[in-house]
């Protein structure tokens, strides 16, 4: 009976599309298309470092998120223009670059679905966390973020990360050239501050902020001010 049961169960799946050459080609094209659609990265090692640096910065900022408002901030909500505008959990802001030009950047939170399965985060947790984060962001006034202060914190944490044991332990090929410009980091710094505020808000509600990630997108010309 068990062999028969196995066979019956194996065959009980709902019908699926025939695996045709056309379908195979379309799937390969989709793999390639989604690869091209991923966020642009200059170099793996630089990105890895930036990601860890961002984590370090958000850790620092999470300790004191009552950032001072005003100052040299040139950051204001933008009229809808980007592809994600209007979606919950998305904030758009204008960050003043070193050449005086504004950079419109989009900061979006999303469930971190590819973080690897974490048994302690359930679908309900994700829903609740996303709801809370979206609610928080909907009421957040971006002009309360001091871009200069955020950048200063970000740079301090970044320098600390570059001197850290984990970074020094990386093989040279993993370190790579530092490809980020100060202006790029300025835009990232605003994201780090925003992310830190989201994290702090979620923690205050007993929610796990690691269920979410933040992506930053922009079409700005950062030049070369390394």
């Amino acid at each position: 009976m068990d062999d028969r049961l196995d066979a019956l169960l194996d065959q009980s799946g709902p019908p699926v599309a025939r695996r045709t050459p056309q379908l195979a080609r379309t799937l390969v094209q989709l793999v390639d298309e989604t690869e091209r659609a991923r966020p642009a990265r200059k170099a793996h090692s630089m990105r890895r470092r930036a990601a860890i640096s961002l984590a370090a910065v958000t850790g620092v900022l999470a300790l004191g998120t009552a950032a001072t408002a005003g100052g040299l901030l040139d950051l204001a909500p933008q009229p809808s223009s980007g592809q994600w505008d209007g979606e919950p959990g998305v904030k758009t802001a204008s960050v003043l670059l070193s050449n005086g030009a504004p950079c419109v950047a989009t900061y979006a939170i999303a469930p971190d679905l590819a973080r690897g399965f974490t048994a302690h985060i359930t679908a309900r947790d994700w829903d609740e966390t996303m709801d809370a984060a979206q609610h928080f962001l909907a009421s957040l006034d971006m002009s309360t973020i001091d871009a200069d202060a955020a950048f200063a914190k970000y740079e301090t944490a970044r320098r600390k990360s570059l001197r850290s044991d984990w970074y020094q332990a990386l093989p040279p090929e993993e370190r790579g050239p530092d490809g980020s410009t100060a202006d790029e980091r300025r835009v990232e710094a605003v994201g780090a501050e925003l992310y830190a505020r989201v994290q702090a808000n979620l923690r205050s509600k007993g929610l796990d902020p690691s269920a979410l990630s933040m992506t930053i997108s922009n079409r700005c010309n950062f030049g070369d001010d390394r």
Partner: protein, 163 residues
């Protein structure tokens, strides 16, 4: 092989399996195409984490797919022209469905949710019981007992039916 190469190879190797995973879990095949696309985007966001061994890659991809599915009603998906094409390809050419398969499927669907998904992962997707446990985020012994219980119920109904 770089992480990018690994991720690309893994997606190419298992994209048809992932598509089948979604086809069998969402009401419309068009939604399956969207969810597959979303899964690939999620993988590219974290391609550095792609394991090097094929079996580990498969389990990892199913974990991502399971997360995407559970997030289905929230996911904001942008449908590209290629996804639209995939939706039309899988919509127009579907396998036949045998009467016996439909009857057994109805039995599977009548199982409690925690047992049902185990049966699906093992018998519809071909995962090992250990990999299915990992995808569901439960330990192997729990998976074994749930799987045995599910089989016991199915066997009982099928025996009764046979008698």
């Amino acid at each position: 092989m770089t992480a990018e190469h690994r991720a690309r190879a893994a997606l190419r190797a298992f994209s048809a399996d992932l598509l089948r995973y979604f086809e069998r879990r969402v009401p419309s095949q068009e939604d399956a195409a969207d969810l597959l696309s979303e899964t690939m985007l999620q993988v590219w966001r974290r391609y550095e984490a792609c394991p090097s061994e094929a079996e580990d890659q498969r389990r990892w991809l199913y974990q991502v797919a399971a997360n995407v599915l559970s997030n289905h009603r929230r996911a904001s998906r942008r449908r590209s022209a290629l996804v639209t094409k995939l939706r039309s390809v899988i919509q127009t050419d579907t396998e036949a469905d045998a009467t016996e398969s439909v009857a057994v499927r109805e039995l599977v669907e009548s199982l409690p949710a925690d047992q049902r998904e185990l049966i699906r992962l093992v018998h519809w997707d071909g995962l090992s019981l250990a990999d299915a446990a990992a995808v569901l985020g439960i330990n192997a012994s729990t998976a074994r007992s749930r799987y045995a219980a599910a089989r016991g119920k199915l066997r009982q109904v099928l025996y009764e039916h046979a008698d």
